[in-house]
Structure formats: C-alpha cells, structure tokens
C-alpha cells in the first residue's frame, strides 16, 4: 500500500495548494510507483466525472412560483410602483397638489383688510360704507371687512371673508357675492380666471 503522506500530497495537489518542492516529491514518487500513479489517476478521473455533469436549469416558471409564495407587499411600495408606471397621472396629481397649495397660501396671506379704491367710499374700522345718496362707479371689492351699502353701487359687489349689508335704500346694479370658505374662495378664483379669459376674447372680438 502507498505511504499515507503521498496520498496527502495528492489531495494537496488536487486542492491547488501544493508547493513546488512537494509537487516535485509527488511526481518523483509517482514515476516509481505504479499503484500510486493508478490511484492518482482514479482520483483525477472521478473529479472529471463529477465536473462533467450537465448543468441543470431551473424550470421556466420557477421565478413566478417563488414570487407567488412571497408574503404580501407593503402598500407604499405598490404606490411608488404605480406612480412610476403612470407618469402622466403622477404629474397630474402633483400639479393638483401644488395648485391647491399655492391657492391656500394665497388665501392665508390675504388676511389683511383691503378695499378697492373708489373716491366716495368711507372706511371706518374695517367697515366700508357706501354713503347714502352717493353713487359709486365700478366694482367694489372688500377683503376681511364689512361692507354697508346705503347708497348706490354701479357695478358688482364682492366681499371676501366678511359680510355685506344692503340697506333698504341701497342699490347694486351688478351682482353681489360673499366669499367666506376656502372652497368658495377657490371657486371664486376659478370663475374669475374663466371670466378674464372670456373677457380677453370679448375685448379682442370688439
């Protein structure tokens, strides 16, 4: 039987961990020992057999089957993927959010009292008065204040975030509008924008 340390050297060789001196010793021995040479060749042959085994491919539906067995996905990931797959809808919803945000911030900014400039309007402590017997020409706009109409307004009246009182003798030739809630206010903005757009076309056609 072959010496144990020679077999040890064979394994070192097969592990690619033999140093040159030992490899020389191994080759030296193999040249003189038929038994060891045969054993060494058998070892190499069995490795070659194992390595030659054909590579197995996973079945085609493998990945789908694995994914089907996974626990349910988190909602936020689903949402993120939906946004990624629907860029136009994402852009649209982003637009809506930003628009609402900017309108709301305008709403919050405009908390101060203001009134449209007409000569014969009287202002007393956030209350605007259209005095009796006076005729105010043009649209009247009051923000964050009260409007009392005792005279006549030749135009539209709009009160934002306030109240308007129309005295029995008072008269308004145009429309009277009170805007108090945020949504009313947004609605008012949209209507005004629409009117302006129409107005542009009107003046152009004129």
């Amino acid at each position: 039987m072959c010496p144990e340390q020679i077999i040890e050297l064979m394994h070192e060789y097969l592990d690619d961990e033999i140093d040159p001196a030992k490899e020389r010793a191994l080759r030296e021995h193999l040249r003189g020992c038929k038994d060891c040479e045969a054993l060494f060749n058998e070892l190499k042959k069995s490795i070659a057999f194992v390595k030659s085994m054909s590579h197995m491919q996973a079945p085609d539906d493998f990945t789908a089957n694995v994914l089907a067995r996974l626990p349910k996905e988190k909602k936020q990931v689903l949402m993120a993927r939906w946004l990624k797959n629907h860029p136009i809808m994402s852009a649209a919803s982003l637009f809506v959010v930003l628009m609402a945000g900017s309108l709301l911030s305008t709403w919050n900014h405009e908390r101060e009292f203001s009134v449209s400039k007409q000569e014969n309007l009287v202002v007393e402590n956030n209350t605007v008065i259209v005095p009796e017997g006076e005729v105010v020409k043009g649209d009247v706009l009051v923000r964050n204040g009260t409007l009392r109409i005792e005279g006549e307004v030749q135009g539209d009246v709009t009160v934002i975030n306030g109240e308007q009182y129309l005295a029995s003798a008072g008269r308004v030739t145009g429309e009277i509008e009170e805007v108090n809630e945020v949504f009313d206010w947004i609605w008012y903005h949209m209507k005004r924008t629409a009117k302006e757009v129409v107005g542009v076309f009107d003046t152009e056609t004129k």
């Binding site: 394994h11 097969l14 592990d15 054993l39 058998e42 070892l43 042959k45 069995s46 490795i47 057999f49 194992v50 390595k51 030659s52 085994m53 054909s54 590579h55 197995m56 491919q57 996973a58 079945p59 493998f62 990945t63 089957n65 694995v66 994914l67 067995r69 996974l70 626990p71 996905e73 988190k74 936020q76 990931v77 993927r81």
Partner: protein
C-alpha cells in the same frame, strides 16, 4: 454583478418584490442545480430551491450586506438540502427524473422500441452513475463535494457557506474524493 445584487437587496428590504424577482432570476439556476445534485430529483430540487429563496426573502434583514449574497443564499439552500436528506424516506415518483439525467423519467426506464444513439445513451448512463455515487455520499461529504465540483467554489467560500473551519472542509472534500474514487474507478 454583486453591485447590482446589493442595490436590489436594498430595494427588497424596502419591500419591493419585483427587485427580489430579479435576484431570483440571477441565482435560480445555480441554486436549483445545487439542490438537484444534493437531492437527486427534480421535484425535491424545485421544492427546496423555492424554499431557499423564500427563506432568503423573509430573513433578508438579517443578511449582513458586507458579505457575498451568494454565500448566504447557498448556505440557506445547503442547510435545507441537508435537512431534507436527513428526513428523507425512500420514495419514488414514476415521473421523477432519473438521477443525473435530463428529461429521462422512470417511464423511460421501461424498455421502449426506439433506441437512443449509443453515444448519448453512454453519456446519460455515466451521468446517472456519477449522480448515484454522489447521492451515496454521507451528506457532510456530499455538500462539500457538490459545492466544490458542481458549483465550482473556492475552499474559503465553502468554509463560509458550511460555517466550518477550512481544515474541516478540506478533510470532507478529501474523504468525499476518496469515496468517489473507490466507486467510480472501474467506470
């Protein structure tokens, strides 16, 4: 490759299953192949390989991202295979593929009129013989041999996968080689 996998793992940790699908695509063949050679039939190989990916997904947060993902995945798969071998009762499916062959089931073991070309038959027989001998190895030698010669991994990687000292891995491979030599010497 590892960089892509690392990126996908981060997405998986956030709960993205599509990213995990990509990881499965990358490793499915090597994991399936490992399981097939460890277990010797396609039903069990598919079952265990799927289970390995499922475990990887569920435990992804415990994966140390400084390590190679494949090492971790192979460790899960190898452990599952060893568990299965230990529990295994001798069972046969008639439609199960014959060990070491592709597309050859027990049905085709029943003699048929049409004969395969001699060369192909020889190679199939050889593969079958080799697979049979691998399956005869005790599981601790089998896993080391399969990782070394079927998955073509380094001794260091095998020692990480099996969570064993390098010396122990070498001993197992040496014993496995010796056992295979004795069985395959007259083939």
């Amino acid at each position: 490759m590892e960089a892509i996998v690392k990126k996908r793992i981060k997405q998986v940790i956030k709960g993205d299953q599509d990213a995990f699908g990509e990881i499965v695509e990358i490793y499915k063949n090597s994991v399936y192949h490992l399981c097939y050679r460890m277990l010797g039939n396609s039903h069990e190989a598919e079952d265990i390989a799927q289970e390995a990916f499922l475990r990887a997904y569920v435990n992804i947060k415990s994966f140390n991202q400084d390590l190679k993902f494949s090492t971790w995945l192979f460790r899960i798969a190898t452990n599952l295979c060893i568990d299965r071998i230990r529990k295994k009762k001798p069972d046969y499916y008639l439609d199960a593929e014959v060990a070491g062959t592709e597309g050859l089931t027990m049905y085709s073991q029943i003699p048929s009129d049409t004969e395969l070309p001699e060369k192909e038959l020889e190679s199939l027989e050889l593969q079958e013989t080799v697979q049979k001998e691998i399956l005869k190895l005790p599981e601790k030698y089998r896993s080391a041999i399969v990782l070394k010669y079927i998955e073509d991994l380094s001794l260091n990687e095998i020692s990480e996968i099996l969570d064993l000292p390098l010396g122990t891995v070498k001993t197992r491979i040496h014993r496995g080689r010796e056992a295979l030599r004795q069985q395959l010497r007259y083939v």
